[in-house]
């Protein structure tokens, strides 16, 4: 047994360190020397400190851990830290441990007539820690704002093993640097979240969904523009190509999924107006879903499809702004081929964001970024930033310098999340 494995067993107990048959806890081809299951912040701090002292790489996950760059390292699975510690309805907040399953959290909170809007990144495995670690801008973000909006405070273990806390139950706080929101999306490169104070909302009083079978993505996009012109801003306004849509319901063409949450009168009225616009744009079938069980089943299926999209490696996500979506759709086929036959196209009407599966993501991203930039957008994230900077002939290295400078301040030995390179 290696020294580090012995140390880990001393910290969390022998039963919570796995060194054989680890595959169920891992995603990827590389092999860490141990999977460890901490039960407390102190456990996490002990594990990280031991790894830091020994210069051993560490990555973390809710149920599964990405092994990229983790050969010989330590995979920390947070699933034992899965408790809701405190629900505070008066302040609309909740302390929750980072390993709690995201969707389970949403459901438990709903039972208390409270609401946590962010969508799970991968509904079957995502944890609350992962939710903020990834910091997605999900398909509800136009109305509810991005995931980072829902973190008010947290406890984190630094890559050097120290624990720090920041934040309060106040929704307004400008004391010190805004680490509270900055930490969202840092993917464990700056430390491991162990407990999070999340912001909640009152549960919506009414729900409706509108589904439609549209002849094309272009027709769906035109309907989305018309809906916004009516000043209707649904919770979700998504269109899925036939291949993805059929995993939710059978359609001849593109599946449009519209989610309307809110107060009873406007929700009912908006559903009628949305359906009318979809019909005008050529829907061959449409339906307003009023039954709550049917509504829940529909969005549960959507979350499965969302997981599939998010875990697909060969894809490009890009934004163009809501009004430019029809233009983007019209031009995209020239890059990736017939969109109606593509295995994965998602249009987020309000975010002005598109996702497309492609066998040659790296090359296509360059062409797609050029297209997106011509429409005022870009490919998302670090890749998009790099492509954008190259296109402008600017010094992309300066962004990388800033990112690396921050990372090295937090993690001087570079042990955390080794798969993430800038």
């Amino acid at each position: 047994m290696s020294d580090i494995v012995a140390k880990l067993k001393g910290i969390v107990g022998e039963e919570y360190v796995v060194t054989a048959d680890m595959s169920q806890y891992l995603r990827g081809n590389e092999q860490p020397q141990a999977v460890v299951f901490p039960g407390s912040t102190e456990d996490v701090a002990g594990i990280v400190k031991a790894a830091y002292d020994a210069g051993i790489k560490v990555n973390v996950g809710g149920k599964v851990v990405d092994t990229k760059g983790l050969t010989g390292g330590i995979a920390i699975v947070m699933s034992r830290m899965n408790q809701i510690e405190e629900v505070d309805p008066e302040n609309l907040t909740c302390w929750v441990q980072a390993g709690m399953n995201h969707q389970e959290f949403v459901e438990k909170i709903l039972e208390k007539n409270l609401y946590f809007p962010p969508e799970p990144y991968a509904v079957s495995t995502s944890s609350i820690g992962g939710c903020f670690g990834i910091g997605d801008v999900d398909t509800k973000a136009f109305n509810y704002l991005p995931t980072r909006t829902y973190i008010l405070a947290y406890e984190s273990v630094l890559p050097t093993g120290e624990v720090y806390k920041i934040g309060t139950k106040c929704i307004k706080c400008v004391s010190g640097y805004d680490l509270i929101h900055f930490i969202t999306g840092t993917r464990a490169t700056l430390g491991i979240l162990t407990r999070v104070l999340v912001k909640l909302l009152p549960k919506p009083q009414a729900y409706r969904a509108v589904v439609a079978d549209m002849p094309s993505l272009g027709a769906a996009a035109q309907a989305f523009k018309a809906i916004q012109k009516r000043k209707i801003f649904p919770t979700r306004l998504n269109a899925l190509c036939k291949a993805l849509g059929n995993e939710i319901m059978e359609t001849k063409g593109v599946l449009v999924l519209v989610d309307l949450e809110g107060f009873p009168a406007s929700t009912a009225q908006n559903a009628l107006e949305v359906e009318a616009e979809l019909r005008i744009a050529g829907a061959t079938f449409s339906k307003i879903v009023e039954d709550k069980a049917e509504y829940d089943e529909l969005w549960a299926k959507w979350l499965k499809v969302r997981e599939k999209i998010n875990l697909q490696e060969n894809k490009v996500k890009f934004t163009v702004g809501p009004a430019k979506v029809p233009n983007a759709i019209a031009s995209l086929a020239g890059i990736v081929g017939n969109l109606e036959e593509n295995p994965g196209v998602l249009v987020e009407g309000l975010n002005g964001k598109l996702t497309v599966f492609t066998e040659n993501a790296e090359n296509d991203a360059v062409a797609i970024n050029k297209l997106a930039m011509s429409l005022g957008g870009n490919v998302c994230g670090l890749l998009g930033n790099k492509l954008k900077s190259k296109a402008y002939n600017e010094d992309h290295n300066e962004i990388i310098n800033v990112l690396n400078s921050i990372r090295s301040q937090f993690d001087p030995k570079g042990i955390m999340a080794p798969g993430i390179k800038f």
Binding site: K165, K169, I171, V174, G176, D178, G377, F410
Partner: protein
């Protein structure tokens, strides 16, 4: 004091009229809303990103610190010039570069006044939600520096929630764009969020992409008048518990009700313990039901009066007292210290009680204006700046108020920032490790500590 060659170099970058070094010329740029004064050696007025870069590069070579400034409405000392620094005033970078209504984006320079962008957007039926009280004077750059709040924050969020991206000049003179024209374009780390609210200590913002929104279909304005602040705070809690997040929940206590009556005759009862202005907005079809729910809540919580505005004139009448609240206290004392302590909403009644105790303990005159939905209080401590005893008392009472907020699980600053005024309280709000993390952030951007040094933390 700068040497003549240093002054000449700055003038060669900016032009003669955009460099001030005379004592009298610099005076107006040496203080802010705190009434404290700094000790700068020049004021410069860049008009482009390139000029900012050249000033930054020159000052870095010369070892001179730079202090950014917009309209100087800061009330935490964030814009006070440090000893020997140059004030870099962004007021002339005030162009609205683009408004893209269909994609909900406006691109502006930092010197644009918040109110000016609101007026432009209003013509098209759009708006930019962050609305700090200083919005008629304060600049977008200043709002970004402090991550300013305002009455609409309870429903819509603060400045950081409405920024898609920024052009930033770093302390090394390099220019980066962080974020983009949407929320999905950050280069992995959300650099926009760490720069917003950093009070110009990490980089200087030279352009900002703002998220703009269509004006909601409808709005209703209500006024609840209560015998006691406790009843008023209970109503706030009960409105939220009823599933309604109002746009605005603005509270005023008895002292402020009376100073505003003296000043503007707003028509509110002088014997009221507190009042709240409540606004809801959204789809027109929903608002009648929400108003009815709020009316019932206020009645249950012993409101002595509940008014619903039926016309634009009545809306203005309800808002009149709040709009003149700060100015009206001048009838009692010539100066006031404004604080922005914030507590969890559930602790709001205890905060009010704590402020009452501070009044008694210090013999101070304190009026309260509050964004009650956020738990964000503005206890206005009235004093006379010419009376040293009163000034000393003000500073002591403000510290006690901050400690009160911390004891209730709150923060010393909900929307004004730390600057220098509240820096001493940072170790009381944060543990040593957290302060060390703040220093890591500062060192990552500005290892030489030349961008607004001495603000928020000391390295």
């Amino acid at each position: 004091m700068l040497s003549q060659s240093q002054v000449n170099k700055l003038k060669s970058i900016l032009g003669d009229k955009d460099v001030i070094t005379s004592k009298i010329g610099m005076y107006a740029y040496g203080y802010d809303g705190t009434m404290l004064e700094g000790a700068h050696v020049a004021v410069v007025f860049p008009e482009s990103t390139q000029e900012v870069v050249e000033v930054v590069n020159f000052c870095r070579e010369q070892g001179i610190a730079l202090v950014p400034r917009g309209a100087g409405t800061n009330v935490s000392g964030g814009t006070l010039p440090s000893e020997g620094s140059i004030v870099i005033n962004f007021a002339r970078m005030n162009k609205v570069l683009e408004i893209d209504l269909e994609n909900y984006v406006a691109i502006v320079e930092p010197g644009v006044v918040n109110w000016d962008i609101q007026e432009i957007l209003a013509k098209y039926g759009y708006y930019y939600p962050p609305d700090p009280a200083s919005w008629k004077a304060s600049t977008i750059g200043g709002n970004l520096g402090e991550s300013s709040g305002g009455p609409k924050c309870f429903k819509y969020g603060v400045t950081r929630d409405f920024i898609y991206g920024l052009e930033v000049v770093l302390p090394n003179g390099k220019v980066i764009w962080v974020g983009g024209r949407d929320f999905s374009s950050e280069p992995m780390y959300d650099l926009t969020r760490i720069i917003v609210g950093s009070e110009g200590t990490l980089g200087f913002i030279t352009k900002a992409a703002l998220r703009i929104q269509p004006v909601p279909q409808a709005k209703r304005t209500m006024l609840g008048i209560f015998n006691t602040p406790e009843d008023c705070s209970q109503a706030v809690a009960d409105i939220v518990a009823a599933g309604i997040i109002p746009t605005t929940l603005e509270m005023m206590d008895n002292l402020i009700i009376n100073t505003t009556e003296d000043y503007a005759h707003a028509g509110n009862p002088r014997d009221a313990g507190a009042l709240i202005i409540i606004e809801v907005d959204g789809y027109a079809a929903d608002l009648d039901a929400q108003v009815e729910t709020i009316r019932k809540v206020c009645e249950k919580d012993n409101a002595k009066e509940f008014r619903i505005a039926k016309s634009a004139a009545e809306v203005d009448q309800i808002w009149l007292a709040r709009r003149v609240a700060f100015g009206s206290v001048a009838r009692v004392k010539p100066n006031y210290g404004i604080n922005d302590i914030t507590v969890p909403r559930s602790e709001f009644p205890k905060a009010i009680a704590g402020i009452e105790k501070v009044k008694k303990d210090f013999g101070a005159t304190i009026g309260i204006v509050a964004h009650a939905g956020d738990g964000n209080l503005h206890p206005l401590i009235l004093y006379d700046q010419r009376n040293k005893e009163e000034v000393d008392l003000l500073h002591k009472a403000e510290m006690v108020l901050c400690e009160l907020a911390l004891s209730l699980g709150g923060t010393v600053s909900g929307e004004h920032g730390i600057g220098i005024l509240k820096k001493a309280l940072m170790p009381k709000e944060f543990g040593e490790q957290t302060l060390n993390v703040f220093k890591k952030i500062k060192r990552a951007f500005d290892p030489q500590n030349k961008f607004n040094p001495g603000k928020i933390i000391d390295l």
